[in-house]
Amino acid sequence: MTATKALEEERTHGAIIGVGIAILLMLTIAAVILGATGYTPSEKIRPLAQFYLYYAMNIFKKELWAATPEAVNSMVWDYRGYDTLFETSVFFLAVIGAVAVLRLPGVKDVSTKGIFSGRGLSLIVKVVTKFIVAFILIVAISIAIHGNLTPGGGFQAGAAVSIATLVALVAFSRIFLEERHVTTKLMLPIRVIGVVGIGLVALAPAIIALTGTFAFAMQNQPKVWAPNFGFPPGFGDFWFSGNQFYYNFLEFLAVGAGFTVIYLMYSIPELIYKEVLKKK
């Protein structure tokens, strides 16, 4: 009797906390309606946003510019670069955590040969999937490389390329990917290359600063107080925007490989787990 009473008490406790959080969020929205952050929606934006928009591609004042015509990408990698650095590390740790929970004890790489048999999906699905996978790969690489000139960037391209792997996994089977060497043994080193590359490009100015000049980590263009080091913004028609091109491409590798590892770990069928857990 006391067990069910304690259960009921805990359930109402949880409900009160949940309703309290909901009321807090609703009061925030109500405060914004009544004008807490100025009259929204307004016809002017804040001075900080005007500063970032004015100086992102300002060729007349080269002490403060970021050399990219897209304001959002300049803020992701140059003006607010440390946010993105730690967000990439959070994603890295989440993939490590998911793989560590679902790992089989003592087995390195699982092969699903001989478990499935049958005809698979219809012919129309298979032919259309082959076209779609090729197009998604091309579009994702274009989003990654043009991230500093058009909407896009590293994370968007990584998410898009993982959709190509997912469509191939669902329409064909896991054996199809394993025979083309798309396994966890190949994807984990690609992920590590991407993340370590981002770290090296971020630390390169700080290492060069040891030789006497003043430069800080994640520096893109020469600034007023650190005028001796900067990545070249572009050669003629090809616009690099400093180190944002390298950042976008390395983040594309890291995120795409990370998502593929998650899909390959989740698509192992339950029969294998039950066999391994029964043998222990």
């Binding site: 959002v72 909407p151 896009g152 994370f155 968007q156 959709i163 669902v170 899909y263 989740y266 339950e270």
Partner: protein, 87 residues
């Protein structure tokens, strides 16, 4: 007759109403596979709202994550556990 800001606001109100309807159907559904499909519909309604709010980077990231990755991870999890929820 109708000027441009008013058209944008009407379409925004329509897309947010659609998102509210899909979210309500998601929470009230007992079959979990249908709940995942309704949740993907709600993600598409939000992506349309982000397009009307002039945010193209977020549209790209959110469609890939909301419709592709969330739906697939949840369907893998449902296929390894139970399909119907006991209310």
């Amino acid at each position: 007759m109708i000027e441009l800001p008013l058209v944008t606001e009407l379409l925004l109100a329509f897309s947010l109403t659609l998102a509210l309807i899909f979210a309500y159907l998601t929470v009230m559904e007992r079959d979990l596979i249908r709940a995942v499909v309704f949740s993907a519909g709600q993600s598409i309604a939000f992506a349309y709202a982000y397009y009307l709010l002039f945010a193209p980077d977020i549209v790209l990231a959110y469609i890939a994550v909301g419709v592709g990755i969330y739906s697939m991870i949840l369907i893998f999890a449902i296929s390894k556990t139970e399909r119907y929820e006991k209310v």
